[in-house]
């Protein structure tokens, strides 16, 4: 296990308020690990502890089986961090930003050139290097933010909500870059609250809420396990309410949400046979039918509830 936390707790302020509660996390080497959670769940705090920015209150953080405190220097040398905020100098050009952070990392000579090239190529910033960061679009700023995190060619890359506030094209580009980094062997630890993003990208997921890890597993295991006897019919339009009335009355047929019908059954083929004629009309806009797997979003909502977190009086 690359990263392992044991009963990790973090409290802030006086009187102490628990932000992380007995967190036991396992992040295997080479994984693309997604940390999911609503606003204020403690994702950034957890990442800050794993990267040695914030001290923990109690518990253990092990890196390759060694206490983080004991090997923090080596860990930092091989770790890249992309913070949730745009941690760069807006008044400097992209090139000056990269040069500065490369110097701070102590990179010299050929290694310096090579690493800057690597960061620039991975984030496709080649044509924007001489522009001031403050004149960048939101997407370019995000890419520069990531590029700086890549400057030490890290073996482990932490990304805190790297796709916030950008258009679908840039998002796709960033996600593809993350995927290809992972294919090259970089372990990625990644937070988000975009479910579809995590579902498509990550091979391992943990869901955290109010400082507690609710569930963690391989993504396939997770979705299969949680939706064992469920047949899901997903419409691209909000057709669930309308169609449920036209279908034969199955036991356990329910409207999951306006896009989704679910049927609990141990024999999905019978159900599909019975409904296929009704649903095959193109105007019904069926997007997919799945059995034994639920969407990450449904899992997430079922685990975390649907109330808004930032209204919590805590």
């Amino acid at each position: 296990m690359l990263y392992q936390t044991i009963d990790l707790c973090k409290e802030y302020g006086k009187p102490p308020l628990a932000v992380l509660n007995q967190v036991n996390l396992n992040i295997p080497k080479g994984s693309l690990f997604g940390l999911l959670g609503p606003n204020g769940a403690g994702k950034t705090t957890l990442l800050s502890i794993l990267t040695g920015i914030t001290p923990k209150t109690s518990g253990q953080v092990l890196v390759n089986g060694v206490e983080l405190e004991a090997c923090i220097e080596e860990v930092r040398a091989t770790t890249g961090v992309v913070p949730q905020d745009l941690a760069l100098y807006p008044m400097l050009t992209a090139q000056d930003n990269l040069n500065f952070f490369a110097d701070v990392l102590g990179l010299k000579g050929a290694k310096r050139t090579q690493n800057i090239d690597y960061a620039v190529t991975t984030t496709a910033l080649n044509h924007h290097l001489n522009k001031k960061a403050q004149d960048f679009s939101g997407g370019l700023k995000r890419r520069l933010n990531i590029a700086i995190g890549l400057l030490n060619q890290p073996a482990v890359l932490f990304l805190d909500e790297p796709t916030v506030g950008i258009d679908p094209q840039t998002r796709r580009f960033i996600l593809e870059s993350i995927k290809s980094l992972n294919r090259e062997g970089v372990t990625i630890i990644y937070t988000s609250h975009y479910m579809d993003e995590v579902q498509n990208l990550c091979n391992r997921v943990a869901i955290i809420d109010r400082g507690t890890i609710l569930i963690q597993d391989e993504i396939n295991q997770l979705l299969r396990h949680q939706g064992k006897n469920e047949l899901r019919i997903h419409f691209s339009a909000q057709n669930a309410e309308k169609l449920v009335r036209q279908l034969p009355a199955f036991p356990h047929l329910t409207v999951a949400d306006s896009h989704t019908l679910t049927v609990e059954t141990s024999n999905p083929f019978t159900v599909i046979q019975a409904i296929s004629e009704k649903l095959s009309a193109p105007e019904n806009e069926v997007e997919y039918i799945a059995y034994g797997q639920q969407s990450l979003e449904a899992l997430f909502l079922s685990l975390t509830g649907s109330d808004t977190r930032d209204n919590d009086a805590r």
Binding site: I53, P83, M91, L92, D103
Partner: protein, 408 residues
């Protein structure tokens, strides 16, 4: 480690070089104030400067004036003679006064000798004026009196010379020899300025001596604005965290701020002094002369810089937004300035107010520079100010370091 430190220093310079507002505050503002205030305050300080009034002399007599007389006229202390073109007339001289070429003019009439030696028997007829004085209306009465007194003494010596030595034959030795006549005109009135015990040297500066150090000190403290703005951007945007992840220690970051702004402060000093020496006189102001003690100058400007940067770091670590940084940094500096005798020179203030100035670190900085520029003291004279400023600077830096460590 030195490589990383150099990177931090270099970054700070690049950021500042791209920050036009910051540069304007640090260089253009004091330069403008020095130029404007040195000109504007010229008169306010005029009472205290050496008397220097220009006058001219128009000789309308057909004989040249005796050399001895001319020589005496040329050396009336405090008055500078402006030469006239050869074909000058009375009208032309009047115009010269109106146009401000000189404030006084002596007109020597064509029968000068006659008039000078003529005497009257009775009191009923007045003596014809031996010479005429033209004055600009701006000439103050006491200036006129000083000038008339000097002029009279010179003319009386000439009168005695002409009256007594007139009857002798051309080749005969004069009855009264020149040396005796010269002694007649010699009258020494000793004049000594009495200063309060502490001040042995002049205690009030002229316009440039006041304004160059004053606005220099003021501008040095304004590093608070660019320094804290950049610092807050770094803090808010998480660049500081990033630096931390990259294994940069807190003291390195603080030192990485201190060193570049120390250099900026020293550049400010060189530029502002150069303006005082080179540019102010070009625009007609008095000029500034370099202090005797260069060591003193280095000491006081270093101490002032430490105080200014310490204060800036404290502001930077205590505020939450860049808005607060600019407002609080700016307002506190302006209060420091008003209180410290930057805007209103200290010697104009009432005594209670003068005591209050010592609250402001700018007042200490200014006093230190005045020791050197005005009183031309040695480096020992600035030690109290250096001590105060360094203590203030280190105190602020300690608070900044404490707060920074907590947040970093």
């Amino acid at each position: 480690m030195p490589g990383k430190f150099i990177a931090l220093v270099k970054k700070e310079f690049i950021v500042l070089a791209k920050d036009w507002h910051g540069l304007m505050v640090l260089f253009l503002m004091p330069a403008a104030f020095i130029l404007i205030m040195s000109m504007a305050m010229e008169n306010a300080f005029g009472e205290h400067k050496r008397l220097s009034i220009s006058y001219t002399l128009l000789n309308q007599s057909n004989t040249p004036l005796p050399a001895a007389l001319l020589e005496k006229l040329n050396t009336i202390p405090g008055f500078d003679r402006v030469p006239l073109p050869n074909d000058s007339t009375r009208e032309r001289v009047s115009r010269g006064i109106i146009e401000g070429d000189y404030q006084l003019a002596i007109i020597i009439p064509n029968d000068f000798r006659q008039r000078l030696i003529s005497t009257t028997q009775g009191a009923e007829t007045a003596l014809p004026p031996a010479a005429e004085l033209l004055l600009a209306p701006t000439v103050k009465p006491y200036i006129q009196q000083i000038f008339t007194a000097s002029l009279s003494a010179i003319l009386i010596r000439q009168k005695i010379d002409w009256m007594l030595n007139e009857r002798t034959a051309p080749n005969a030795a004069p009855i009264v020899p020149q040396s005796t006549l010269d002694q007649l005109g010699q009258l020494n009135l000793g004049a000594t300025y009495i200063y309060s015990e502490a001040d042995v040297a002049p205690s009030t500066p002229n316009a440039v001596q006041q304004n160059v150090p004053a606005w220099l000190v003021f501008a040095m403290f304004f590093v608070a604005i660019p320094l804290s703005t950049v610092f807050l951007i770094e803090k808010q945007q998480g660049t500081l965290l990033r630096l931390r992840v990259m294994n940069i220690e807190a003291p390195t970051i603080l030192l990485g701020k201190l060193v570049p702004y120390f250099c900026v402060n020293q550049i400010q000093m060189v530029v502002m002094i150069a303006i005082g020496i080179l540019i102010v006189p070009l625009l007609g102001g008095q000029n500034l002369s370099l202090p005797h003690s260069m060591l003193g100058l280095i000491l006081i400007s270093s101490a002032c810089s430490i105080a200014a940067i310490g204060f800036a770091l404290m502001v930077a670590t205590m505020v939450r937004t860049t808005m607060q940084a600019t407002t609080i940094g700016g307002v506190v500096n302006i209060i420091f300035g008003a209180l410290g005798g930057i805007m209103v020179p200290k010697f104009i203030m009432p005594e209670t107010m003068q005591t209050l100035t010592y609250i402001s670190p700018m007042s200490w900085g200014l006093e230190g520079f005045l020791d050197l520029f005005l009183r031309q003291s040695g480096w020992e004279a600035v030690l109290p100010e250096v001590l105060y400023l360094s203590t203030f600077g280190l105190f602020c830096t300690t608070i900044a370091a404490y707060r920074f460590n907590k947040a970093y």
